[in-house]
Subunit: 207 residues, 4 copies
DNA sequence: TATGAATGAGGTTTCATTCAT
DNA sequence: CATGAATGAAACCTCATTCAT
């Protein structure tokens, strides 16, 4: 109020630190899972006091939700910035979305989303927040699925809601993770096959 | 000691109680997840003292593992008792397995297995036990998948390991649960579509 | 009251079992210490139900106290049955008592008494019971100590109470146990030296 | 962080509290023994929450070990700071050690050490820690015992290991405690007599 | 009388959250 | 703002003791 520039500098620092916290939290969650990630450890790794953590995020849930939301935002932005040629097939568009979700710089995104999605604690928290960004991603995918049906690419007999769910099942590395972590398949190989199964599976029969 | 009937009566009561405990544990796990299921709460809901719980299951892990194993046994037995005509297609055989896994009286089985499978704590416990039953179910499915490939039903270009994983993905109600719990689809409809996607997706292309 | 013979038969069986329980309790206490000896384990080793244990001894403390008392009784009897020649020196008489306390058939007595004497729980229980037998043993030793003083064997300047305590210190295998369990001394060697120190230490100076 | 005085003030308070905890723990252990000393009770008596206790000592064992080690350190330092004239007899040196061990401000030290030494649980914990301080005290005593033998003060026929044990037996107030707590002897009187017995007992006979 | 299933108080330890400095 | 010590609820597990059969 007195010195706006100062205020915004502070604000910038604040955001930078928030970003750092989220990064660290992500790492820890990936290592230890949701429940075994303690606020103590996050604070320690960031190099701040536990109390400071609570200045940024009032609850553990809030922190967790924040980086979930951030990932979603990134995905949404990437999807929206993706150049989409009009004549591109619906399948190609959806494949590009899958590709976005699996190809983050750190390569951790999909695992992270999976962990959060399957953490009981987190689910409960999630239901109480608005899922706006998630909804928008979902809408985008749904739009492509319906476009594909309209174009005759996808089987119109399968309800779009079910298609949507199956799409996100394909995406989530679920047990796929095991395939390249323990059974020696490459990530690319697995994703290629899984997408193949999915898109063939939903294709309109050429009859 | 003297009277066999007496002994077996006690034993019967014991088994009944054990069954009750497992039922309750199942419910709580379904509601709250593995970690948030406390021995206290299970005992309270069963209506017994905490100590009594420990007479039946020496550790939380043991209790959890017990009903996991029990479900697996039921599934394995059902699979093995299923009459399998020699000329039945591999797909039909696999469909019957899916059907078994999804048709338990309570309708909770698949969710439960999914929760346990994705609980970090439980995984660790699981690795220290023999996974015999689980392995045998898995072997059965794998055998059918390879039979299907040999018969020209399934695409031989997709590694069987990946097929196997995808099969269990289809099975696990993961987000499917949402479809009939919140979005108004019937369980049958969802399973029908999901299986359709899967089997079309892995079918050998008619050249 | 109706059938005395029967009654006494029952009574005899009862005592036999009580003896067995005490034997087993002794073994377990020697193996695990006072606190880590559970009523469950005693019952299991005796081959009776836990409830039966409580028909004989209403509290854990009572059981423990019972075999403490029993050992004391044995010691007292052995002491009183010991033929004591009038002209025997006081030192010789005391040495024979030490010998009795250390030479029980099982060779466990001294350790056991030591464990009990140093168990906090037991001490408290002990204080609430009459220590009759213990007192009588103590009186016997005290009498010999005073006899020794009167005869000019022991130093009359050391109060008999202190001598008494030191005597029981010498007896108790305390850390002596370590000497032959971990350091390779023989039990006899240790006892010989320790008694030597004690009796020389309390001897009247020949000046 | 910025102000050293501030840091050291906090540190000082922390140490003071730690000291208080150790004091209280000592009292409780003296009253109830090792096993019956609960973290709850210690916290309650100190007037802090249970969790706070765990900020200072991560395990019950650690707390117990901490004050054991602290006492040992105090004793070792006192021994090493003791001015030792070269011509002093070995007996005089050992007497000064006994005196140190028995003359702590609270007068509880020896009892405490004895309780800990005879607690099964503590022994196990002790074996996993380095016994450095304990060993050094023990070495010092042993050196004096051997010096005494060499000088012709002590009986060379008694193995030094046995002498060492007997020395610590004399020190430990074992049942001595009873003498001045219940029987009206003074501490000094008891210690005087007990040392007299010990040193006479181990003296070389003037032949 | 004998049984052993049932009880529940009590013990240790963890960790999200608060708050005085 | 930042700190981190303090809190206390809650989790798992044990075991002496009771009591219906």
């Amino acid at each position: 109020m007195k010195v706006p520039e100062h205020r915004s500098l502070k604000e910038k620092q604040r955001l930078e630190r928030e970003e750092l916290i989220l990064q660290v939290a992500q790492d820890v969650v990936l290592e230890k899972g949701y429940r075994d990630t303690s606020m103590d450890e996050i604070a320690a790794r960031v190099g701040i006091a536990k109390g400071t953590l609570y200045l940024h995020f009032a609850k553990k849930e809030d922190l967790m939700f924040a980086f979930f939301e951030r990932e979603m935002q990134k995905i949404l932005q990437a999807i929206e910035q993706q150049p989409v040629a009009a004549e591109m097939s619906a399948q190609a568009k959806l494949e590009s979305i899958v590709s976005i979700m699996h190809k983050d710089p750190s390569g951790k995104r999909a695992n992270l989303l999976f962990i959060l999605f399957n953490s009981e604690d987190f689910k409960i928290a999630l239901q109480q927040k608005s899922l706006d960004t998630l909804q928008r991603i979902s809408d985008k995918v749904m739009a492509y699925l319906e476009e594909g049906k309209a174009r005759g690419e996808f089987d119109p007999d399968i309800p779009t809601g079910i298609l949507l769910n199956s799409f996100f099942s394909v995406l989530s590395p679920r047990s796929h993770r095991r395939l390249f972590q323990e059974e020696g398949y490459t990530r690319e190989e697995v994703m290629f096959c899984v997408q193949k199964i999915f898109f063939r599976g939903i294709a309109k029969r050429s009859s």
